[in-house]
Symmetry: C2
């Protein structure tokens, strides 16, 4: 059962992490199945009084995935009253997910800072559950199970942020393997954007961004025309993440 | 002296509002001069336990400017430990800005949700100070005075957000008068972006966004060639604010 010494934690504040992975042309999110209950939740946690909030989100990411130094970004602050639910707290206690001594803590009003992360799926085959969860799993965002509180809304908001950000910054690092083909990169964009893109336009636009390196290697064993393998030019990639593509003003 | 009944407020949480206005080709921000102290701060406040955090930010905006239904957006959550400053709290009490009974409340660790707003300068000639401030004033962002805590960082972050968002959404509504010329719109962009833009490219790109309406009127009394007056097509403008310009993917 989950129990912490609440004196060390910031009252009424939590972090929630939407951890995205890309696998078999599906955008997936890491979810935790609660103990003894048929509902799922996002990886998250409370904020120690002596820690920066961003660092607490990083700690959640590392504890659940084992990964460090991963792209992780605040995307929204969830401060609506309707995100709190007294019945949910009762359920957590009755189902022995949370120690009854924690009831008062959980019954406070909570606001939450939302973060999203992009991680390499193949490196997180065995995500690590926390004290409230029986196991965790990668779930396609098109097939979400029943989620606690406003967690479905948090995931939607993270996905919408990602879609919007694609208009001025790249995606792919940590989601694709080190070497990838143009069709593989396009498939990632199509999956995130949930729409088909024209092959030629995609290629033209992507090359114009000047973030790809032609590795002079080809993917073999895929039929007649072996496609070129690219990698990201990391300096240019990170510059674009910071300042946006110069296609702007 | 500032005093609230803290039992009604969410512990350790505040909102800070960066309220932008555009006047005489300068981007200005609304600041409050603290009582009895030579430092300034952003309009902000605490969060009542029974209110949505976004609504509290709206209340701050309305109380300081008298304006309602104004563009106001969360842009960042400030959760770093170094934003708290015990000496600052002492100064507030010694200078009789804050009631000594509030010391314990102010000495807690505070995290803050940052919002920015774009308002019509001419409608806010007389901003309204709060209980901690002697007066308020519009200050060009290039000439900021000494600010409390991390408020200068908050303003920089808001300005950077605005610059980045110009890559995929419009600006101008509430910052420009109802009718404006293309050079006036360009001056706004140049001021926000802090760089010169090519006149022809600006015009071409802006017309392609299809958010402008040619009003068939001209600005008179400005010399030989009277420039066309435009207004925003509000439906298209709001659609672009929501989904971004379709120049994306």
């Amino acid at each position: 059962m989950y129990r912490i010494n609440t004196i060390n934690f910031q009252a009424g504040l939590s972090v929630d992490c939407v951890i995205f992975g890309f696998h078999e042309n599906q955008l997936k999110v890491l979810l935790m199945k609660l103990k003894n209950m048929e509902v799922w939740g996002l990886p998250g946690g409370f904020v120690r009084k002596d820690k920066n909030v961003d660092d607490e989100a990083e700690a959640v990411l590392e504890e659940r995935t084992g990964l460090r130094d991963i792209f992780l970004r605040q995307f929204y602050f969830f401060g609506h009253l309707n995100r709190n639910d007294a019945q949910h707290v009762q359920d957590l206690i009755e189902n022995e997910v949370v120690d009854p001594a924690m009831e008062e803590w959980f019954q406070q009003r909570f606001v939450s800072v939302g973060y999203y992360a992009l991680v390499e799926y193949s490196k997180v085959q065995q995500p690590i559950p926390d004290d409230t969860s029986a196991y965790c799993s990668w779930v396609p965002i098109t097939e979400l199970p029943e989620l606690i509180l406003d967690h479905e809304y948090i995931i939607k908001k993270a996905h919408n942020t990602l879609k919007r950000e694609l208009n001025y910054q790249p995606i792919g690092l940590n989601l694709l393997p080190e070497l990838f083909t143009m069709p593989e990169l396009q498939a990632l964009y199509e999956t995130v954007l949930q729409k088909d893109l024209d092959r030629r336009n995609f290629r033209r636009k992507m090359l114009a961004y000047q973030i790809l390196v032609d590795t002079n290697k080809k993917r073999t064993g895929v039929g007649h025309k072996a496609p070129i393998l690219y990698s990201f030019d990391k300096l240019r990639y990170f510059a674009a993440m910071k300042d946006g593509f110069s296609s702007g003003w």
